[in-house]
Symmetry: C2
């Protein structure tokens, strides 16, 4: 048994066995991740509508806090694309981008999201995240990727455009297309093309030279750094900033500042739903990465503790000039591939980024925004994957409907409407499916003790006995359906004297279903028909025994369907 | 097969075989119900905040329309207590009581509710009503009964008081207690006492005289008529109206007027949620009465057609000066007990009430409102039943939580908040329960082919094999739970080489769960553990075959758990 202390502070577990090998592996991984994170952090801050340095700040203290409280050994926490988009969507409805209020609202959003995650972890409410079905997430990520890519086109073209869904963005981009700055566009298109080539073309090339997979992976991930250096040098050397190329400009040389989120009740109330959605989406993304990486080393992830780790990270972001963060897929994979052994690698990455924030920011003065936009576009387009539509169509129309609604509403109305509709529709469709459970009328397979659907098999039945097998737990959503089904079956056939419910697939009977069974029993009694049960599971039987129903039931409970038929139809050959 | 025409017009079915016996039975029933309905209709109009005559109007055309479209032979449609309370609660938030706008808003509420019911019937969406669990309804009816009784105390005491939940009512009553009109109070208390005695004391008395059950029932139901006549005579004879006793006053002598609801989009939008709740609650109340009465005569009820019948009745109410109506419990039971054979009884009742509206209204000029309040109080207190709290506590804590929340929120915040919270909580608790399904690790019972929980039975297991039995369908809400469970079980035990999922209780695997199984398979592969399935149901297997999962799975699918163990552990004695 773990003590409470080690449960809530996983660092106590791995910290105790930390040694020199782990230290050197962690240091190498941290160096690689740091280099990769610098352009990514700046870019995601821009995507969230914040100054570039906020991206660095959001990557320093949150990583350290996650190292203390998180259970994944390889997860890298910081700004990620989808959460940054959701941040921009949430804030731009409330405050104007570029104002001081906007940055403060971002801090509040991170604080609120952190508080929600912490509360969910402490009260073990992680199950709430389960209501996001996989297809809904896949649809949401795909649609978000498209919106993010579209939102970055303005930087590539050097124009201004507004919008938080695809419709708005397309309209706004078309209106401003004439204002395109051609130098910016050339930089942007070249950078995008180069980054695509690094992903698609460089990897096979390096492999042909015989480099191992891990090394080529690291090379590919440093592509953004190369583009950043090259385009910054070009803008500086050729004086392109004077020709209308938009640059990052002055970034303060500073460690993350101490900041305080706003506690205005009005603001917090407006941010509550977005913060909740950001928390859930961030948690789901983070936990699936963590689980995948942990499995590779036979390690365990504790979802409730992960909530605490991510909650602490977001609180940290809100106190140090950041914005909502979560465990990112690409950075975590790099961290893992580069050999990170413990969360200490994260702490070292944080130190690396702190040094960058202190010393390297003057170097990115001339970094064109088009370059950052290019890194974002190339990163998010790998998230876009419409195959979920085909897959869900083949597998289940209900899942397909949920995916389609999520994608369409996210694209047309925005991220919050899209994900809310997806979750709502998934739940509704699930309730709908289980509200009309499969109920088969069964008969005996000749010469056996087995009972099968009378519509599909050649089976023995008796005109005085109806046996129904319900393939679902009985609860409020389907209780009345069973009432209707039985009443309609019995009312039209005056020969029936016994109704047997075969309960082998019933895992639960809630109070509504129990009351329905009572009503069925009463109504059958009025028609002079007896109600019997067969093959009731142990836990269900235990619960039924707490109530009067069994003593009021006109018929009996049989251990097996075969026994029931034998008892009620004595003439049957056994 | 029924044609579409007879499906949507049940009157064509029973009308064809209508004969003289049915006619005379229906006429007797109609006479009894008409007498009982007059005071009840006036009282419920008052409860809804409308002039007394609206209650008569709401009972005439709606009954006739239900007779044409409804499938129940005995259901009596008209104003009922809970729906009248919900009407008052919905309208008083929007318009002031006693104004013309209030009456028009009541028409709009009925029209909207009718449209919702019709749409649900035509699109076969009756399943939506299933989301109201029995315990939530029981709790809601109990709490509503208390609020209704409290809301009538002002009429009993002759004071004015406002409020749509118990808190507001108690505060308002306390403030105005000093203004009590003692003559009104005496009439009110005597009337209430008499009606209670009729219910509790008269029935046993009549039985002692040897009267049959049916006849005593009818006597008891005419109690309100006796009180109405007696108190009206007293007020008229003693001139009590001049001494501050509040009376019904002038009621127009008229057939139901032709009216039009307002189609103002603002108003309709504000009424949408209340109309939806009224529709659902009304439908649930009505259908359970209809089912109970139909069972007594082995008749069938078609829930979708019932929605159409109730929808038509409400549209009718909105066009003839009424307010929302539904099938009432007490009036339907009286109708049935009095021998009604077909919906024609309802039509005759409508004619009786039309005659009353035309000819008898001057007679109720001096009817004290305290008398109507007394009939309401006595009627609704029979709905109040807290035993559901004890019952649900014993049977299931989840159901208990839903009931308690419904009762407390209805009493403190009002009917809409109460019923919404009850429904929301039921769904949430159901999802929560099924999001953490019972997963048992099983082993072989020695000498048999049966497998049982290792924690409860002395069973044979093998250190290299883990068999898990999941007692629930796999879908998005529990897919991730299974991932966690398996990862945690396998990560801590390096001897494991095989994981078998026994799928006998799994009725469905949705796309989320399939993707979870894929993730489980991949992660187990990383740990060098094989995943197998056993006892997969036919429909589940059919669906799995549409996807690649089975070919990617590291292990096999076994028909039975016994075969699985035999194949994976060849040394086992068979």
């Amino acid at each position: 048994m773990k003590t409470d202390m080690t449960r809530y502070l996983p660092i106590l577990t791995w910290g105790r066995t930390y040694n020199r090998t782990a230290l050197s592996n962690d240091l190498v991984a941290a160096l690689i991740v740091t280099i990769m994170l610098i352009p990514q952090s700046l870019a995601y801050a821009l995507l969230a509508g914040l100054p570039a340095e906020a991206g660095l700040y959001a990557s320093i203290v949150p990583i350290m806090l996650y190292a203390v409280f998180g259970t994944s050994r390889a997860l890298a926490v910081g700004p990620v694309a989808v959460v940054s988009l959701m941040t921009a969507a949430a804030l731009s409805n409330i405050v104007e981008q570029g104002t001081m209020g906007y940055a403060v609202a971002a801090l509040s959003l991170a604080a609120l999201s952190g508080a929600i995650l912490l509360a969910m972890g402490l009260f073990r409410l992680g199950f709430i995240a389960n209501f996001l079905s996989h297809p809904v997430i896949a649809g949401f990520i795909t649609a978000s990727g498209i919106i993010i890519a579209a939102s970055q086109l303005k930087h590539i073209l050097g124009i201004s455009a507004e919008g938080h869904n695809l419709l708005e963005l397309v309209i706004s981009l078309t209106e401003h297309l004439g204002e395109t700055n051609w130098i910016t566009a050339i930089i942007g298109i070249l950078a995008t093309g180069f980054l695509f080539w690094v992903r698609r073309g460089l990897k096979p090339l390096l492999k042909r030279f015989g480099l191992p997979d891990g090394v080529t992976g690291v090379f590919v991930k440093t592509g953004p750094v190369v583009v950043v250096v090259a385009t910054t040098a070009a803008v500086w050397g050729l004086g392109l900033a004077d020709k209308g190329v938009s640059i990052v400009g002055e970034v303060p040389q500073s460690l993350p500042p101490l900041t305080l989120p706003s506690f205005s009740p009005d603001l917090l109330w407006q941010l509550l739903l977005p913060a909740f959605l950001i928390s859930i989406i961030g948690f789901v993304e983070s936990i699936s990465v963590a689980q995948t990486l942990a499995a590779k080393k036979r390690q365990r992830i504790d979802p409730d503790q992960e909530l605490i780790g991510l909650g602490a990270a977001n609180i940290g972001a809100s106190l140090t000039g950041g914005f909502p963060v979560t465990g990112g897929f690409s950075r975590s994979v790099v961290n893992f591939d580069a050999g990170a052994e413990t969360p200490a690698a994260g702490a070292f990455t944080a130190i690396g980024l702190a040094i960058a924030a202190l010393a390297l920011t003057p170097l990115i003065y001339f970094l064109p925004k088009a370059t950052l936009a290019a890194t974002i576009i190339v990163a998010v387009l790998s998230l876009v994957d419409f195959s979920i539509l085909k897959r869900s169509w083949n597998y289940s129309k209900a899942d397909f409907a949920a995916v389609l609604a999520t994608i369409l509403l996210t694209l047309t109305l925005g991220v919050e409407a899209g994900v809310s509709a997806g979750v709502g529709l998934s739940i509704l469709l699930h309730l709908y499916k289980s509200s009309k459970p499969h109920i088969a009328e069964v008969g005996q397979v000749p010469g056996t003790e087995h009972f099968r659907n009378i519509l599909r098999h050649d089976v023995i039945t008796d005109p005085s006995i109806v046996t129904l097998r319900v393939d679902e737990s009985l609860y409020f959503a389907n209780a009345r359906y069973l009432e209707d089904k039985i009443q309609n079956r019995v009312a039209k056939d005056k020969d029936i004297r016994h109704v047997i419910l075969q309960c082998a697939a019933i895992n639960e009977i809630d109070l509504s279903a129990l009351e329905s069974l009572e009503a069925i029993n009463e109504r059958l009694k009025e028609m002079d028909v007896k109600l019997h049960l067969s093959e009731v599971k142990g836990p269900v039987m235990d619960r039924l025994k707490r109530e009067h129903f069994l003593s009021e039931m006109t018929g009996q409970v049989f251990l097996s369907q075969f026994e029931a038929t034998k008892a009620l139809r004595p003439a049957l050959p056994t």
